[in-house]
């Protein structure tokens, strides 16, 4: 492991910088030379059909999977050589895995605070602020499994931000929740981004894709489109993201 805590490229203000990032599994190329960057405070939508390579790309960017070729830095650290630093400087939340159902709200916050390397005083202070902000102070001793899904997701997001990471990855954070909770969640995303944290988010809701500053659409492991929602639509000459998706995922199907 290279010197922990030393950023490989301190000159770049970019939150994510990926150059030719590639991952093969045997003869199958899951991610095929993708190059992109994410700015500080940007909400970056990472989209594509099931199997397009999104999950593999995110696993590389979060330091869980080594790239076969190419390089990426996240929060200034190399994904290939400083995976440990990356994990301490990013937040991650997915629909399936985030909090421990059998621990209380408070225990989850303390557990993650410890994992992120915060000391007890910092954990206590941030726990209080977090619970107040979410209106969960009276529920801190409740088991997470007893919370409504919408609360759980807001808590999971806040816990993923506990160590004030520069980048947070949200993998389908709003699946299955009601439309009001879904929108409250997006307001949390805006607040996070406005405070300077970059947000990389995946979603199957195309209206949520419109909430992003920029979109990155993957098809078969490659970049099929990148830009603001208006740019990617204009580039393809379509009026809606729905049309764009059909065109990208099923070339020739329009005929």
């Amino acid at each position: 492991m290279t010197q922990p805590g030393v950023r490989t490229d301190s000159a770049t203000p970019r939150a994510i910088d990926a150059i030719g990032l590639t991952r093969r599994f045997g003869t199958f190329t899951a991610v095929d030379g993708i190059t992109f960057h994410v700015r500080p405070g940007e909400v970056f939508g990472f989209l594509g059909a099931n199997g397009a390579g999104k999950t593999t790309a995110i696993r590389m960017l979060t330091g869980l999977l080594t790239p076969t070729e190419g390089e990426a830095t996240v929060a200034g650290y190399s994904v290939a050589r400083q995976a440990e630093d990356i994990r301490r400087n990013i937040g991650y939340m997915s629909q399936r895995f985030s909090l421990y159902d059998d621990l209380t709200v408070r225990e989850n916050i303390e557990l993650y605070g410890g994992i992120y390397g915060l000391d007890d005083a910092a954990i206590a202070e941030r726990r209080g602020a977090l619970l107040d902000r979410l209106g969960l102070a009276s529920h801190e001793r409740d088991l997470v499994r007893t919370l409504p899904l919408g609360w759980k997701q807001q808590l999971a997001f806040s816990v993923a931000l506990l160590h004030r990471p520069r980048v947070v990855f949200l993998d389908e954070p709003t699946g299955g929740v009601d439309p009001i909770t879904r929108r409250r969640f997006w307001e949390m995303i805006y607040e996070t981004a406005a405070a300077g944290t970059s947000v990389l988010v995946t979603t199957h809701y195309l209206d949520e894709a419109e909430y992003c500053d920029r979109l990155f659409i993957m098809v078969d492991g490659r970049i099929a489109a990148m830009g603001t929602p208006d740019e990617v639509k204009a580039d393809a000459g379509v009026a809606t993201l729905d049309e764009l998706f059909v065109r990208l995922a099923r070339p020739g199907a329009a005929a």
Partner: protein, 319 residues
């Protein structure tokens, strides 16, 4: 129209949790009926009651003029049911899964082919692939074939499109439309509000209760207040801050009942029922301008999601 499903006061509890709370509705024969709502609304419980898998604590139902609580063995062969989690055996091939489901219902794949042909045609090239190795969209189509292979008279699909990408979702609905054209009664549940428009009628469900039942366009048309779409036109750059500023300012407007992100715009519901939406749009534009915020404001038609959110907030106001 003949009635395929009748539910009267259907109620199911699990301990202290009321999963389904006195739900009543009817589905006509040949209808494509959508049950739309988030996780925990009671969609799965409702379907399990109707396909004979649960007994209700209160209320009753009829499916194809049979009682799901009593006529289990008469009803089962006539019902196709695709549960929410994939019901496939991952270690069996696509064709083996299909053959298995056919045999469970005492029929054969050949006998069922007339029913499933349009769907199976897309799967046939992968017939000898293990179900585990099929893509999400293909698994979903195979599960549909398995639910249809015994040529049922009514089909229950529990969240068939959850977690499936937008393009596969659209293709799946195209398949359902073709099945509907052939006269099959279909009940389908989904958390995706944008799928409502593909149904003949929809029930909006939340917390075990039905908020509203109607044709999709009628749900939108019944929206009781003027609705305005606000699109920020400020300079390019990182937008989160600008969007938050716009949301905050709009929420301070004395007549704004609700302000929510909707695609590239924000939807603002004005509390002045019956007011001229064009005049309200002009008023809101000026109001934002006075706060140094540039935006296009136009009257807009409510979507199913606007209606759902209105009904949800209404239900909470009453409760």
């Amino acid at each position: 129209m003949k009635t395929a499903v009748v539910a009267r006061g259907l109620t199911k509890r699990f301990g202290d949790v009321v999963a389904l709370d006195h739900v009543s509705f009817e589905v006509g024969s040949g209808e494509l009926f959508g049950v739309i709502g988030p996780d925990g609304a009671g969609k799965t419980t409702l379907f399990r009651l109707l396909v004979t898998l649960y007994l209700p604590d209160e209320g009753e139902s009829r499916v194809l003029d049979l009682d799901p609580a009593k006529d289990i063995w008469k009803l089962r062969p006539r019902v196709g049911y695709m549960p929410g989690r994939f019901s496939l055996y991952p270690d069996l091939t696509a064709l083996e899964n299909l053959t298995f489901y056919a045999s469970v219902f005492g029929t054969t794949v050949d006998a069922g082919m007339a029913t499933i042909e349009p769907i199976w045609r897309q799967l046939a090239p992968f017939a000898s692939r293990r179900a585990a190795a099929l893509s999400g969209g293909m698994k979903q189509k195979l599960a549909l074939c398995c639910a249809l292979v015994h040529a049922p008279d009514i089909l229950f699909l529990d969240e068939p499109t959850t977690g499936v990408d937008a393009v596969s979702r659209r293709e799946f609905w195209d398949l359902l439309a073709r099945l509907r054209e052939r006269g099959l009664t279909i009940l389908v549940s989904t958390p995706y509000m944008d799928e409502a428009s593909r149904c003949d009628r929809v029930a909006l469900v939340q917390r075990g209760q039905i908020l509203r039942i109607d044709r999709p366009f009628a749900v939108s048309a019944a929206f009781p207040r003027p609705l305005l779409a606000v699109t920020g036109t400020g300079r390019v750059g990182v937008t989160a801050e600008r969007r938050l500023a716009l949301i905050k300012a709009l929420r301070e407007h004395p007549h704004a009942v609700s302000v929510w992100p909707f695609g590239r715009s924000l939807h603002v519901t004005d509390d002045r029922a019956g007011a001229d939406p064009a005049a309200l749009a002009t008023e809101l534009t000026m109001w934002l301008k006075a706060r140094d915020l540039e935006a296009d404001v136009t009257p807009t038609a409510a979507t199913i999601e606007d209606a759902f959110m209105w009904d949800m907030a209404d239900a909470e106001r009453i409760a």
